[in-house]
Point group: C2
Chain length 336, copies 2
């Protein structure tokens, strides 16, 4: 049971060639003869040699590690995205190093830790990054892409869905169905996604001349959403509620049905945001705005690699449009 690693030097000796020859064989694009290649590979195979990525990174300045900062994994959208992101990056020869950070926690410390690992880039999901921090990453030459998170600062690359347009789609849907008493349980007001969805929704209603009776901040939390639903039904009595994401929408539906004895959509129509897998399950059958995780991830990878390969490239912002997916939690036309 040898614990010592097999090095390129070992392979070189075994094959009777120089150590750099071994290196070349494992360096894409280096010039080696067929014969050398075969000989080295044979020895490498025999000894079970593989290049040490970390040692390589020391000299190339590329670690092939991408740092991912994420706050919570309990909104299904994030595991879905993480899985896709990880697979997509794997396909490009990168891997994801995970850093959990609670919202409001000391993010700076987390980012410092990330930088310690010499990551080639950073994906920040569900985290609001301070300008100070962004500056620091730029100084360190580390590309950052904000995933599903907006920022005023135009200096950061970001990928979001078309939150504002999404909010408008929901408004149009409610208006077309003839709803008159409309309310919104928003995503966290401290996040741009939450604000944008709310703003688009309000815009859409205003354009149609339908009042938005109330907005309550659900903070993207299950329990807060349930409370908001209770309060709304007691005080405002809406017949249609747009909820800032799917997970909160499930909470709202459960509260309406099982606690308040109301029917969805007959008594109250409910729309969510994300279109996570569960939204299509019969128990909820939730009308929702799709955030196309797949395309968002592809865009993220694209932005990231672009900035890794061309550090001088200006950070871009990509917004991905998603359709309103109509399901059973809303009906085409409201009762007269």
């Amino acid at each position: 049971m040898s614990v010592r690693r097999v090095t390129s030097q070992d392979v070189a000796e075994h094959a009777g060639v120089s150590q750099s020859a071994v290196s070349r064989v494992f360096t894409p694009g280096a010039s080696v003869s067929k014969k050398m290649e075969a000989r080295v590979r044979a020895s490498a195979e025999a000894l079970g040699y593989r290049p040490n990525v970390l040692a390589r990174s020391l000299i190339t300045g590329r670690s092939r590690i991408i740092g991912l900062v994420v706050a919570y994994l309990d909104n299904q959208f994030y595991p879905e995205a993480l899985e896709r992101l990880s697979r997509a990056l794997q396909a490009e020869g990168y891997h994801v190093l995970v850093f959990m950070s609670r919202e409001g926690e000391d993010l700076d410390e987390v980012i410092q830790e990330i930088l310690d690992y010499q990551v080639d880039g950073i994906v920040a999901a569900s985290v609001s990054m301070s300008d100070e921090l962004a500056r620091r990453c730029r100084a360190a030459g580390k590309p950052v892409v904000l995933f599903n998170r907006g920022q005023e600062d135009a200096g950061l690359a970001q990928v979001t869905s078309a939150n504002r347009a999404g909010g408008r789609k929901v408004a149009a849907h409610f208006v077309a169905a003839g709803h008159k008493r409309i309310a919104h349980i928003s995503g966290w007001a401290g996040s741009m996604t939450g604000r944008d969805r709310a703003a688009g929704f309000a815009e859409g209603l205003k354009a149609a001349g339908v009042p938005l009776l109330e907005i309550v901040d659900g903070e993207y939390r299950w329990e807060r959403a349930a409370e908001a639903a209770r309060w709304l039904m007691a005080e405002i009595k809406p017949d249609a509620i747009f909820v800032g994401n799917d997970v909160m929408a499930f909470s709202v539906m459960d509260t309406l049905r099982f606690e308040l004895g109301l029917r969805v959509p007959q008594d109250v129509a409910v729309v969510g945001y994300d279109d996570v897998a569960m939204a299509a399950w019969p128990a909820y059958d939730l009308t929702t705005v799709r955030q196309p995780a797949d395309r968002m991830v592809r865009a993220t990878v694209e932005l990231l690699l672009e900035r890794i390969e061309t550090p001088s490239a200006a950070p871009r912002r990509i917004e991905i449009d998603g359709p309103l997916v109509r399901r059973g939690s809303t009906s085409a036309e409201v009762k007269a």
Copy 2:
């Protein structure tokens, strides 16, 4: 915008000391005078210096990276566990490098990639590892802990919940409620968790003299579980079904209620396994066996660190017991 990293050499020059002095200041347990410490830290602060973890790992042989292999993130139990695992390891100064691998895919290649990163240890969740591979990791001196995954090979450390005992608890619960027509939609028969839960369930029923009418393999998949439920209700007509995990149980409940028009628990009682967050949601209110993700993760970290610090330690197996959580998808007593 300097892209060049600040090195210990830079700090040394700035502070007017040797480079090794700087290193000592950032190496826990090295001997440095108070004065030196203060001086170096001041310079480091001024220049924004932090040690390069990768360069350090080259010489210490420890990367402080743990490789995590996971197949899918769509069973909520895994994101929950991943989040906890990541936080727990972070607290110990480690970080998680994620490797997605589909079941049946070439796992060997994935593990090779992991080893390329010089990880200090590997957590394999939801993956069956070949003996060949296990041997290889041992040869490379990499501790492996199987998470929520059993293996015949006693040479591997593993953490599971008490699946067999869990199955027996479900059996006892059904028997006590007076159920006579009992069926099981099992977890994937190719996995030890699936087999153990089924075996415990069968044992428990046998001991009580109640027949187990049928076992169908649900493969831990939503759609397979729905099909199994349809088939069971058409052919076997059970009044109680034990389902191999929560996600499949949700699928079964939806199928029973919305497709077949049956009531849960009045017509059919349903029990799941895992106790993911959704199981407590009113829409399902699922009776289930809890897998204590928290304790399982703690045990995993414990085993991992133990084996990293003492490579000679024999791999241990830890089994964590979880209670049956009674909720509305089963009733205390069945109708006479």
